[in-house]
């Protein structure tokens, strides 16, 4: 069972306390964007086998959204961080690099 720490309220809980929200750091495209951009925003998933950055919500807790860095094969959680950011903080990137040297996820590495 996945164990996550909510960076908003600091509570560490099992996955039943949280709800997965899919891929993180999406750039939103709406009216005025090209069809390709809108399609990619809605449907083109990274769906990686390995390091993944994703959104979670602390449903049965503080109710806040946050981000997590996780390995989709080993289920190891490298760390969680607040959602109010455009890219993972250096501490998270370093934590991933320590375990998965040479990782990349979309434009981040």
């Amino acid at each position: 069972m996945l164990i996550l720490t909510c960076p908003c309220c600091g509570v560490t809980g099992e996955e039943t306390e949280f709800h997965g929200g899919g891929e993180a750091h999406l750039k939103r495209f709406g009216p005025g964007s090209s069809e390709g951009e809108f399609h990619d925003y809605l449907f083109s998933k990274v769906n990686p086998k390995g390091v993944h950055l994703e959104r979670w919500r602390h449903n049965n807790g503080c109710g806040k959204w946050f981000h997590a860095a996780r390995d989709t094969v080993t289920m190891e959680v490298f760390g969680t961080y607040p959602a109010q950011t455009l890219e993972p903080p250096k501490s998270i990137k370093d934590a991933i690099t320590a375990k998965r040297p040479g990782w990349s996820w979309r434009e981040f590495a």
């Binding site: 996955e15 809605l42 449907f43 998933k45 990274v46 769906n47 990686p48 086998k49 989709t72 289920m75």
Partner: protein, 414 residues
Amino acid sequence: MKRYSAFAVAREALRNHTGWDRAWASPEPKKKYDVIIIGAGGHGLATAYYLGKNFGITNVAVLEKGWLGGGNTGRNTTIIRSNYLQDASAAIYEKARSLYETMSQDLNYNVMFSPRGVMMLAQTQHEVRGYERTAHANALQGVQTEYIGPERVKQLVPIINIDGPRYPVLGAIWQARGGTARHDAVAWGYARACSDMGMHIIQKCEVTGIEQSGGKVTGVNTNRGTIGCDKLGMVVAGHSGHLADMAGFRLPIESVALQALVSEPIKPCMDVVVMANTVHGYMSQSDKGEMVIGGGTDGYNNYTQRGAFHHIEETVRALVETFPMIARLKMLRQWGGIVDVTGDRSPILSKTPVDGVFVNCGWGTGGFKAIPGSGWGFAELMAKGHSPLTEAFGLDRFYEGRFIDESVAAGVAH
């Protein structure tokens, strides 16, 4: 290929079973094939089979990184039905179901197709309306199915508790010609027939890269060397995104674990398949007597072939309420498979941005039932460039907003 028959069994019984052939050959890969299929699961092998049978294309290799049928083909709960809502889905699933009817004869391999009937319970007013609508749609599509009341449900499944209390059974959609089949045998039967046509089934051969030249596929890199091809079919379910990444494009799918479990074997108590989508559980009884139980998918991407433990509790809790007599059963085994889920819960059978590369994926939580229809349509798509069965399932539907929305009709489990 020596044919299997009652006579062959009698003959071999008299000579200590020394005359049986290997069901399929294990050849070394050639330098080049006309068509390479990645993935020797049901869908991949069915594609190869119909390429040979319907289009005479037999210079084909089926590459498998593990063992034949060891992925989702050997991990599902073997349910076969075709009562989908949308016309495009009903067409391909009904094609598949009808091919299952004669598969044992066509392949000369007993796939143990058992049209015992599949029942999907309606336990909310919303579901009642949804299934009545599906039953009407099926009538127009020529798919034999009917909406039945709770008394008929109880008559067909005496062990069911239709009185709730939380979710009383209000009715059900009933497809009498749905059922189950032996999942391994489907893969083995197709593999044997493919091998007989001269196709190469190469196990323990993992694709590590896709070779392209001028936007067209020229071959694949594998752990057993580079193998050339003119056309490439990617039929790898949960690992489709991983493979698409190698080819340089992304797919609108996400991979999650879906799990199933079986109980200890008991005497025959239920001779139909029952699915309860509101409470997230479905159950049938195998020929061995085990209750085969399927549950929900994980709520986040993963490739673990295991599944989150709490889903077992949710599934079993729901089924114990629906079938009180199973409360004291012991569970024997639990396992997971990686399913590839699309946004509209419908599959993708399509050309791709790379010339010569075709993709068959996105069957999500319900691919087993579709194996022959999927192979039939995908083989036509690969051979001729278009197929009436797969037309609606192209990748372009995500650009055009032309979804085949089955999430309501199919629910979580299917």
